[in-house]
Symmetry: C2
Subunit: 255 residues, 2 copies
Amino acid sequence: MNEILTSSQNDRVKAWRKLSQKKHRDAEKAYWIEGAHLLEEALQSGADIKEIIVVEGSDLQLAWTKFPVTVVSDSVFKSISQTPSPQGIAAVVGFGELNYAPQQGHLLLLDAVQDPGNLGTMIRTADAAGFSAVVLGKGCADLYNDKTIRATQGSLYHLPIYKADLAALLPELKAEGYYTWVTDLTESTYFHECEVPQKVALIMGNEGQGVSEALINAADQAVKIPILGQAESLNVGIAAAVLVYHIALAHGSIK
Amino acid sequence: MNEILTSSQNDRVKAWRKLSQKKHRDAEKAYWIEGAHLLEEALQSGADIKEIIVVEGSDLQLAWTKFPVTVVSDSVFKSISQTPSPQGIAAVVGFGELNYAPQQGHLLLLDAVQDPGNLGTMIRTADAAGFSAVVLGKGCADLYNDKTIRATQGSLYHLPIYKADLAALLPELKAEGYYTWVTDLTESTYFHECEVPQKVALIMGNEGQGVSEALINAADQAVKIPILGQAESLNVGIAAAVLVYHIALAHGSIK
């Protein structure tokens, strides 16, 4: 049995704790995940699992033992956990460049979506709706923020997620046959009155500012969701859900 | 000019602070709202504003002066504020029984939705989609929880919100001509393959358990949203958005 790490001041423990900060994640090219379910998803997707950390007394599945495992005391685990109710198992996962690679199906492009919960929820929605990939533009919350990861509910391991300068990416997408929809509340058409193209790249924008002017101008079609009551607007994750599912279900039947 | 309340231990200050707890809200039949925008919405909707609390040095709109106004010091306001960035104006608003009254348009019925953020977001979505009312069944988060109120973004003042035993309400709704849709992941039909009736009462359920068995059995139509990717499920607020807008846009055009 492994030695048990019992000091919260141990250098490795300190290094794990630092993964809660973006600058340290970027420096280490690694992030932190917690819980057996998420680890299972990471394993199945072929994520770059660097090491596993478990609390003393845990049962370990055989599949995990091919990675370096460190056993820590209950108090150490609590000191490194990023969740309110620690599940006693965590992993350090490496990440590389997230450069866009050509896709066949619909895409969700996110322009400066700042809230990690919104970001994670939209990734989960795009996954559920069978979109091919999500592309994060400048100003988005960090994909590896613990709140983002939690909100994806594992979907960050289900479809490719890229980072790109969206303005620079649009001509490339056009060459791939994509037709760009952008959400805009001003001069735009109700989404359900537009014909849905075969390959849509849907751009959703910042919570307060919406999509940037440059992207609105560069897009093929500006769409909006009708507001039929007195609400001033919709939450961006909600608006994305309405549009993503409308696009996903526009062609053909599902069995 | 009013006297300035400077003691956080003053009895009235303590009473305001207690409105952050449901049991005190229920005992006082009153809740707490913050921010000029929300107060404006409350005023316009004819809500029962009991009193207004402002931080010293605030400008007060004329419309507010018909209510009792108390001026408090900055430190007192911070001690009573329920938000991370206090805006310096708040109100105590009374509430009565929220008994269902017959409606003409679509309804959103919520069965044990536990998360205040989800509850508030769904109220906002129902408002945006022009639904006639929202009915909260047993086990829902409190409508007057500060997180619920914030997530509604003012929509709690835009459409009627009722509380009811949903199982007991369904026969009444049927008599009013409503056709009940319930979300269920098992034996159900894809929502977009169902004809949308003229008056839908849509039931959404608990985050973990879904809609209760009794309500599923009592409903006219069980529907589900197709999962086309690898996600296991959708967030309940997201699922509600997809269904609410599908129902809202099924009949007639919008101008």
